[in-house]
């Protein structure tokens, strides 16, 4: 069994979901996503035993494209993130009813398929195809099942699509340029190119455009908040939980490895830009009135810090970035789910319309509190491990980076706790808050359990990622 099994299972799952009809669709999708999680855990086991689970086959003669799928510790972890979050996301959506559910869940699984492919591909064109394929389902999910005024939503979603496509097309030009030097797209062959400093600079810039828009880094973030707000919660979770990790992952896998010289030269600017994003996102988040938008800006701040970690090009920075990607993926999905739980009951996302939920639903309040604390990186949660490692690596580069990056903790605590206060505490709300269902509890508990377990015992993830990052560093310092 190799990694193609995961991809095939997800693709078959998407097709099966589509043909299972509207009533069964969510269950079929859930079944296939759980099965995929099972397979990827099995593959993780094989992988840690040292079995080879890669796949290499020829796809096209001209242009020379291989079906090259390779799992190292980093890819494996990202695949696990995808396959673990997909069932959680689908499970969390069971409380909602969607029109034309069969298409909806088929698109979710298809998107999961494309994202998994992105994390596994080591052939440039194959990777690019997966990367673009992931865009189409989320476009339709946000467009058709999104909320709010149709015209505004359309504008936001089309802007998102054109923005991301624009970025990735420049990446495609970079690949085309590399291709006519190597005559194939294999990542390994790109390493052997002796690119001049100018070449590296332009290739780095082309990749940067694609990733900076996807992650997003300022000033390329303008699509983000509106799309997060307008998309249905499932779409928002997919976007914030997994899809933006595609950008961060790609920085590590492609950008800094193909053009390490440029990455080193530009390092201070890149880190500076990322940290500017941290501060900017935090400050904007302080002033948000819409719960989903607030979470969107908090996400902007967090990914800024992760990107800063990636661009330090040090072992700690890269490790921390990866930890934080996983932690952020889980916590943001949990937080958006909380927003959804409230929305199911109050039909609003305005923070001012909430408040006083605590006395009505103490269980929900405690779960929410833990998520908020995890989000602000309280020791004991996995987010702390990630954030601390990144900040430590930033201080190794330049202490001021760490100082400014560290504001994320202070500002984050400020806007998250303020939000929590406004949403949950205060006088008992006049509107009835129907008690939280078992499904909702299960979803939140799974997420929290994950964050706490690895917060206290991070070794398994560390052991998985560390060797892969060391390999990557060898390529960077070649």
């Amino acid at each position: 069994m190799d990694v193609t099994t995961i991809l095939i299972l997800l693709l078959v799952g998407a097709i099966a979901t589509y043909f299972s009809g509207d009533k069964l669709a969510s269950k079929v999708a859930l079944f296939f996503s759980v099965a995929t999680l099972g397979v990827s855990l099995y593959l993780l086991n094989e992988f840690s035993k040292g079995e080879t689970i890669n796949y290499l086959g020829e796809w096209m003669e001209y242009p020379k494209v291989y079906l090259a799928l390779q799992a190292d510790g980093l890819s494996m972890l990202m695949v696990l993130l995808t396959t673990a979050l997909t069932p959680i996301i689908i499970f969390s959506s069971l409380g909602n009813t969607y029109s034309n559910a069969k298409s909806f869940y088929a698109l979710v699984l298809f998107m999961s398929f494309a994202m998994t492919g992105t994390f596994l591909a080591v052939d440039g064109l194959l990777y690019y195809i997966f990367w673009e394929l992931a865009l189409i389902p989320i476009y339709f999910i946000a467009l058709i099942w999104g909320n709010g005024d149709a015209d505004k939503r359309k504008k936001a979603v089309v802007k998102f699509f054109i923005y991301t496509l624009a970025g990735s097309l420049f990446m495609l030009v970079a690949f085309a340029y590399l291709y006519q030097k190597t005559n194939n797209f294999l990542l390994g062959d790109f390493f052997n190119l002796r690119l001049s400093a100018t070449e590296q600079f332009w290739i780095f810039a082309a990749f940067f455009l694609a990733y900076a828009i996807k992650i997003p880094l300022i000033p390329f973030h303008t699509w983000q908040a509106k799309v997060y707000q307008k998309a249905p919660t499932v779409g928002t979770m997919l976007l914030s939980g997994i899809m933006l990790k595609m950008g961060l992952y790609s920085v590590i896998r492609w950008q800094i490895q193909i053009a390490p010289q440029a990455a080193k030269t530009l390092m201070p600017y890149l880190i500076g830009l990322s940290i500017a994003g941290v501060i900017y996102g935090s400050i904007i988040a302080l002033r948000q009135k819409d719960l989903k938008k607030l979470l969107a800006y908090s996400s902007l701040a967090h990914v800024g810090l992760i990107a800063a970690g990636c661009y330090t090009l040090t072992l700690d920075g890269l490790n921390g970035a990866v930890y934080q990607m996983i932690a952020h993926g889980f916590v943001i999905v949990g937080l958006f789910f909380v927003a959804e739980i409230i929305h199911r009951r109050y039909e609003t996302r305005e923070i001012s319309a909430m408040g006083g939920i605590r006395s009505q639903s103490p269980k929900f309040t405690s779960l929410f509190m833990i998520l908020v604390l995890a989000s602000v990186a309280l020791p004991g949660t996995y987010n702390f491990v990630g954030e601390f490692t990144v900040l430590y690596s930033l201080s190794q580069v330049n202490i001021w980076f760490a100082v400014f990056g560290g504001t994320t903790i202070i500002l984050g605590a400020y806007y998250m706790l303020k939000m929590f206060q406004n949403v949950m505490l205060g006088e008992t709300n006049t509107k009835v808050f129907a008690s939280i269902t078992t499904n909702e509890i299960i979803t939140l508990v799974i997420i929290i359990a994950f964050l706490l377990f690895f917060g206290l015992y991070p070794k398994p993830i560390t052991d998985l990622v560390n060797p892969a990052i060391k390999d990557i560093l060898i390529h960077i310092n070649r």
Partner: protein, 459 residues
């Protein structure tokens, strides 16, 4: 040669069918006939030796011709299949229309397999005259008449320029024969008429493919003509003209000089940009696709920058473009069948009333916009790599920016289908629209997954 003879014979048969009152059987018989001809052509291609046969130095049927002819035949099959429903109310004229289309195909095949400039000119005239008739084929419709007249005036002007170019080349070299001209063009000492003649021919062909600045006829003619003729113009006619331009330039000259290439670069970038920016503002789908066709012409012109080895890339791009165009027109013809215009509003809510056709149209638009896994993506990618190799990075950058712009208007149509409420009930859908739409988009995806199916035809 067999292909050309067989197509002409089929055309004559279609005319006779009218006399013997076989109108009902006409469409199926023609399709079967064309499939048989497609078989012959592909067979010619696989027997390698017979392929370079010369026929009195008028026709050379090489791999290039075989590849493109096959594409033309496939497109014609789709067009004729659609004709059956489109001309339902004009049963008495159906054989005329089908005959004209078959003869048009004959002209198209002649245009990609000539080895003598007179043959080339005969081919282009057969194709153009058939197109003038088809553009004006809605006899009682003022717009159609206007389109036909406009196209005829502008087209015959372009033909005149081409003919003048041929004369100048003859004056300079003393030959009509392509091989002889090629041999002479390698030596020095050709009079100035020779490059002037070539330039005039290029101008005439740029007119035919509707590249900027010779594009002004396209939007009006596309809009005014009956939808099925627009489908023919934007898929078959455009592809034929592009293939012919490529064949002319690679056949007559050793290679373009630097100055010529710069002109191609400018025309290419201008076509892409003007076409795309104008398309953004269109409300009428046919007009929008006319402008999108102009921008695609700009993309295809990139192939001329690497003249020696771009034939397979060009065939791939044209196949991807034409198949996507055919799929989209199958849907457009269906949607606008009983409407007096083709505004985007007519597509509102198609995603709900007819999900399959909406999906076909979405897929074809995504292919034209160059999104993987549709073949439009690989087509663009191959063109980009080839052009980077030819060291014209600036055209590639312009192409990329234009791909982004083009998403804007392709998505306007997709948005209309999926986010707007339908204005009317689902209308009855004849099977043929599904068949043509689905088959062409499936072919599009198949050559997307296996590009070598097409690229190996010529390489």
């Amino acid at each position: 040669m067999q292909t050309l003879i067989a197509i002409s014979a089929l055309g004559v048969f279609c005319l006779l069918a009218e006399i013997f009152n076989l109108r009902k059987a006409l469409v199926p018989v023609t399709i079967v006939g064309l499939l048989a001809i497609l078989g012959i052509t592909l067979n010619l291609w696989s027997i390698d030796s017979s392929i370079d046969e010369q026929y009195k130095s008028m026709i050379v049927f090489d791999k290039f011709s075989a590849g493109f002819s096959s594409l033309f035949i496939i497109l014609t099959i789709f067009l004729i299949a659609l004709s059956h429903d489109v001309y339902k109310d004009h049963q008495t004229k159906i054989s005329d229309f089908i005959t004209i289309k078959v003869f048009l195909l004959a002209g198209a095949v002649a245009m990609v397999s000539f080895s003598n400039l007179s043959m080339f000119f005969i081919g282009i005239e057969i194709l153009s005259i058939a197109l003038y008739i088809l553009a004006a084929s809605k006899r009682l419709d003022l717009k159609s008449n206007e389109a036909g007249m406009k196209y005829f005036l502008m087209g015959s002007f372009a033909s005149g320029i081409i003919l003048f170019g041929i004369c100048l080349i003859y004056g300079a070299t003393g030959y009509f024969d392509v091989a002889e001209i090629y041999a002479l063009s390698q030596g020095a000492g050709l009079p100035i008429w020779f490059p002037i003649g070539i330039t005039l021919m290029i101008i005439g062909m740029l007119f035919k493919i509707a590249a900027v600045p010779f594009h002004f006829w396209a939007p009006d003619v596309y809009e005014g003509s009956p939808a099925i003729t627009t489908a023919l113009m934007s898929t078959l006619a455009k592809v034929v003209a592009m293939a012919t331009l490529y064949k002319l330039l690679s056949g007559l000259t050793v290679g373009l000089t630097y100055n010529f290439e710069i002109i191609i670069v400018i025309v290419s970038i201008a076509s892409m940009t003007v076409g795309n920016i104008m398309a953004l503002r269109q409300k009428n789908v046919k007009r929008m696709l006319a402008f999108s066709g102009i921008s695609h012409a700009g993309f295809m012109l990139m192939a001329l920058l690497s003249l020696t080895n771009a034939a397979s890339t060009l065939l791939y791009y044209t196949s991807a473009y034409a198949l996507a165009g055919m799929a989209s027109f199958a849907v457009i013809i269906y949607v606008t069948k009983n409407k007096d215009n083709e505004d985007i509003i007519n597509f509102n809510g198609l995603g709900k009333t007819n999900p399959l056709l909406a999906a076909v149209l979405t897929a074809s638009l995504l292919s034209m916009a160059g999104i993987p896994i549709f073949s439009g993506f690989f087509a663009k990618f191959m063109l980009f790599t080839q052009t980077i190799k030819a060291e014209y990075l600036v055209v590639v950058i312009a192409g990329v920016i234009n791909s982004i712009i083009s998403v804007g208007y392709y998505f306007k149509l997709i948005l209309a289908m999926y986010t707007k409420e339908a204005t009317e009930e689902k209308q009855a859908t004849p099977f043929v629209y599904y068949a043509v739409g689905v088959i062409s988009i499936v072919l599009n995806i198949i050559i997307g997954l296996y590009p070598s199916l097409v690229t190996n035809l010529i390489n």
